[in-house]
Structure formats: C-alpha cells, structure tokens
C-alpha cells in the first residue's frame, strides 16, 4: 500500500485543523469577554444534572441568574442545603435554612384499598389512562400507578409498589418537581422532609362517597381536627390538611383517624425525657402537656409517663431550664 494514501489525508485534515485551531486561539484572545467569575464558581458547585428543577434552562442558566441577582441562592432544589451554602459563600450572603422538601404521592389507595371502575388494558401510561374516563380507579383523585412519574424521575427515586401505586423514596428525592409536572392526577405534592405525619388522601368528595370507593380515604369526619392539640389540622373541601408549620409530629391524628388515611411512622415517634438534676419543679411542662403525660408537684422533680407521651415537644420548647430532651 502506498504510504501517501495514509499520510495525505492525515496531513491535509490535520493541517486544516491546526490552522483553524491557531486562528481560533488568536480570536479567543482578541475577542475575550470578561465573564463574571462567580458564574463559573457557582456552576462548579451545582450538581450539574441540568434538570431544570430551578425553573432555569439548566445549571448554566441558574448560575447566571444567581450571579445577576435574579435567583435566590437556595434556588437549586437538587443540591439542597450544602449547595445553597456553597453558593451563598460565593455570593457573600447568608443562605438561611430552607427546610428540605421532598415530593410525596398523596394516596394510599392501592389495589387492595381502592376499588376499580373497570379493567384498563390501554397504553401503560398515566396520562393515557387518565383520558379514559379519568382512569380506572373509582377515586378520581388517586394515583393510577402506571409509572409516568417513574419515567420522569431522573434520580430513580420513584417506584411502583405491588399494589400498583407510586411511592417516592424520600432519601433519593431531590424535589426537582418533574414528577409533579407530569402527573395527570396532581397526586404528588411537596412535603417537608422531616415531616413524619401526612394526610395521604386528596379526595374532596363527601365521606359517604369516599367510603364506597376507598378503605383508606379521608371521609371528612374531622376527628383529627378535634384531636390535634396544636391546631395544626386544617379542614376544607371535605379534606383534612396538615399545616406543616404548626405540626409537631405528635401523631395523635394518625392514631385517631378511623380510616387510617393519615400516614405516620410510629417507630419514629419521639419521647420526652427530663434530666432530673436540672429540673426545678416549676410545673410549666406539666401545664403545657396536651395529654397529661407529665406528673409531679411544685418544687419536685417531674416525671414523664412514657406510655402517655406523644412526643410533641411542647414541653421541651417551654421548659425554662432546657432540661427536657426529645429522643
């Protein structure tokens, strides 16, 4: 084989490339634009997923917006608190502590609990299924469980359970909001990551109707509203809703709910504990306790009744000596 057939194209194209490269290198100096160095620094600390969860086109767009002062330093839902802190450092401001949020499927109506209207054999996609008379679930507010959100999630945080219902793994969720966007039933909502008690129902119909459709729906009995010691349970449109700012995760509502429509992880329930040597017997905690779980007389060391304590933390907040700890 003639060596030239090999060398010529290499030389030809290589030469062209070299000439253009040199030209561009020269031009890049001649036409250099001073970029805000903060933009690059911010982009470096961003996750780089380009998910668009912040509302800007990709991480670059967000970095530009932050540097220009148009976006908050806490704007990246994926990076979370660490990322916000880093950006705040670059921008020279305080991040503040925005509570971490996660998306949650507000529905427990799996195949066992919620009746089907008909058998759906169409395209296995919630949007398509929702077009056929609102989906096969008898409850028009429930999760269809065909996994449209699973496909939208870039972080593998959503799975479909055996009961054909979507579940979001909070540890993996970055609150980018993609699933919320694609869900045709608007069944996914943001909830605080720390929140242990959640009303897992969206149904706004009256109790009787809900009962016929689903075993775990909110039947608008308002028992939780009355049970809540902190006024954290709001009620509108036949549906109970927790005001997450007031809620102390005491889980009384979940205990009282007759249909178990309120989810609570009772294993995470805290218990108050009084450090005895610091207690001055002021009785403030005893007065604060909504469930009378504290006993003790004035000027005596108080005691927590463990089986009564609901872990709401009201006593911890009020104790003047800071001698009550939640564990």
């Amino acid at each position: 084989m003639d060596l030239n057939t090999l060398l010529l194209p290499v030389a030809g194209l290589g030469g062209l490339g070299l000439v253009f490269g040199a030209g561009l290198a020269y031009a890049s100096q001649k036409f250099a634009v001073e970029v805000d160095p903060r933009v690059e620094a911010i982009r470096d600390v961003l996750p780089g997923a380009n998910c668009g969860g912040c509302g800007y086109p990709g991480c670059d767009g967000f970095a530009n917006a932050v540097a220009a002062g148009n976006a908050p330093v806490t704007g990246c839902p994926v990076g979370g608190a660490d990322c916000a802190k880093n950006i705040a450092e670059i921008m020279g401001v305080e991040a503040g502590d925005a509570a971490k949020k996660v998306a949650r499927v507000i529905c427990s109506g799996d195949t066992k609990n919620c009746k089907e209207k008909f058998d759906y054999f169409g395209i296995q996609d919630c949007k398509a299924a929702a077009m056929v008379s609102g989906g096969s679930k008898s409850c028009a507010y429930g999760c269809l469980g065909l996994g449209t959100c699973v496909n939208a999630c870039q972080f593998d945080a959503i799975e479909i359970t055996d009961g054909r219902i979507a579940r979001i793994i909070p540890e993996r969720c970055t609150a980018c909001g993609k699933c919320i966007e694609v869900c045709p039933k608007s069944v996914i909502h943001f909830v605080p990551f720390e929140q242990d008690v959640i009303v897992d129902c969206n149904n706004e119909e009256v109790g009787k109707v809900v009962r016929q459709k689903c075993n775990v729906g909110c039947i608008a009995c308002q028992i939780c509203v009355k049970a809540c010691p902190f006024d954290a349970m709001e009620f509108s449109n036949n549906l109970a809703k927790i005001n997450y700012e007031k809620c102390t995760n005491c889980m009384i509502c979940a205990e009282k709910c007759p249909t178990k429509a309120i989810y609570a992880d009772f294993e995470k329930r805290r218990k108050a504990e009084i450090i005895e040597e610091n207690c001055i017997g002021c009785t403030i905690c005893k007065k604060q306790c909504p469930v009378d779980a504290i006993e003790g007389e004035l000027k005596q060391v108080h005691k927590i009744l463990e089986d009564k304590c609901i872990g709401c933390g009201a006593c911890e907040v009020k104790c003047p000596k800071k001698t009550i700890k939640m564990k």
Partner: protein, 193 residues
C-alpha cells in the same frame, strides 16, 4: 458567466430552491429561533455570515487542498471542520459585540455548526461545479433565502401569539402548520428559472 446567469443563480437559491421551504434544510433554527422577528433577524444575519464565509473557504479548501491532494472523499468532514471553526469564531465575535443577540440566540448559535443548510450549500456549490463568483452569489442567495424565510415566519408567529388558536394547536402545532403553508406558497416559484 454573464450577469444574467449570476442573477438566475441568485434568484434560484433565494426563492425557487429556498433552503428552508423547498429543500427543507436548516429546519432546527427555523423553528427554534423564530419566536421574535428581532432574534430571527439576528439568526439570519449570523447564518448569512457563516454561510457566505463557509462557502468561500470550503470552495478554496476543495480546489486547493482536496482536489490537488486527491482527497475528494474527505469533503464532508473537511467542510464540517471549516464550518465548526467558523461558527466558533462567529460566536466569539457576537458575544463580544452584541451580548443581547448572544443571549437571544442562545443554544442555536453553536447549533449553526450542525445546521445542515450551511453544509448543504457548501456541498451543492461543489456539486453544481460553480466557480468562485457563482459560489459566493449562490451562498448569499441561499442564506438570504434562509433569512427571508425565518423572518417571515417569525413575523407570522408573533401574530399567532395573540391570535385565537384552538387549544390543541397552540404553540408548535400551529407553527408547523404555518411552516407547511409557507412551503406550499414557495412552491409557486417553481418553474421561475
């Protein structure tokens, strides 16, 4: 080649064989950057500049490098190299001279690299065995044709924004229908030359 011959090449590239509406090349920026007349005009100018310059350089590359070295089979990759370098250059110039235009063009500016209209005109010049003057005229005609199409389209889309379009057709569907109607209109130029 007489002046009338050049004129025929020009009109042919501009209207009869309009790159967007007759040859269906460069559809991506045509749909992507045609929301506002202003940015569409900017895009048109950038493409005009890149196309004309690319045509000249690719012509020279073809004659003096590829043909003399017998490397005709490297035509496509060599042309892409030329176009990519040019686009980089144009990007730098625009970023320096007009940051607003740079912002408005956004991702579509580097995408001129893969704008098939640019590569198309470069390849067609060689295929039609044009000389340098004809190449330049053809490139200017083609790129002005592109600009014409995109600016007209942007004008229509600006009005579509406020028009009462049925919900299912809002956005891209109506844009695509408009584009196809424009294409049919441009079919009327067939047989002009």
């Amino acid at each position: 080649m007489s002046a009338s011959g050049l004129f025929i090449i020009f009109v042919s590239a501009l209207l009869v064989n309009n790159f967007v509406l007759s040859r269906f090349l460069g559809i991506c920026p045509f749909l992507g950057v045609s929301k506002q007349v202003e940015t569409a005009a900017g895009m048109g100018m950038a493409v005009t500049f890149v196309m004309t310059l690319a045509s000249i350089i690719t012509y020279l590359v073809q004659i003096f490098i590829l043909d003399t070295m017998g490397l005709g089979y490297l035509q496509t990759i060599a042309f892409i190299l030329v176009i990519a370098a040019l686009v980089q250059f144009v990007e730098m110039v625009i970023q320096k001279t007009s940051p607003t235009l740079y912002q408005a063009l956004g991702v579509y500016l580097p995408l001129i690299t893969t704008n098939c209209a640019v590569l198309g005109v470069a390849l067609l010049n060689i295929q039609s065995e044009f000389n340098l003057i004809e190449t330049i005229v053809n490139a200017i005609g083609a790129s002005l044709g592109f600009s014409l199409a995109i600016i007209l389209f942007a004008g229509i889309r600006e009005r579509l924004e406020i028009a009462d379009v049925p919900a299912v057709f809002k956005g891209f569907p109506i844009a695509l229908i408009t584009a196809s109607l424009m294409s049919i209109a441009f079919l009327g130029f067939t047989g002009l030359v």
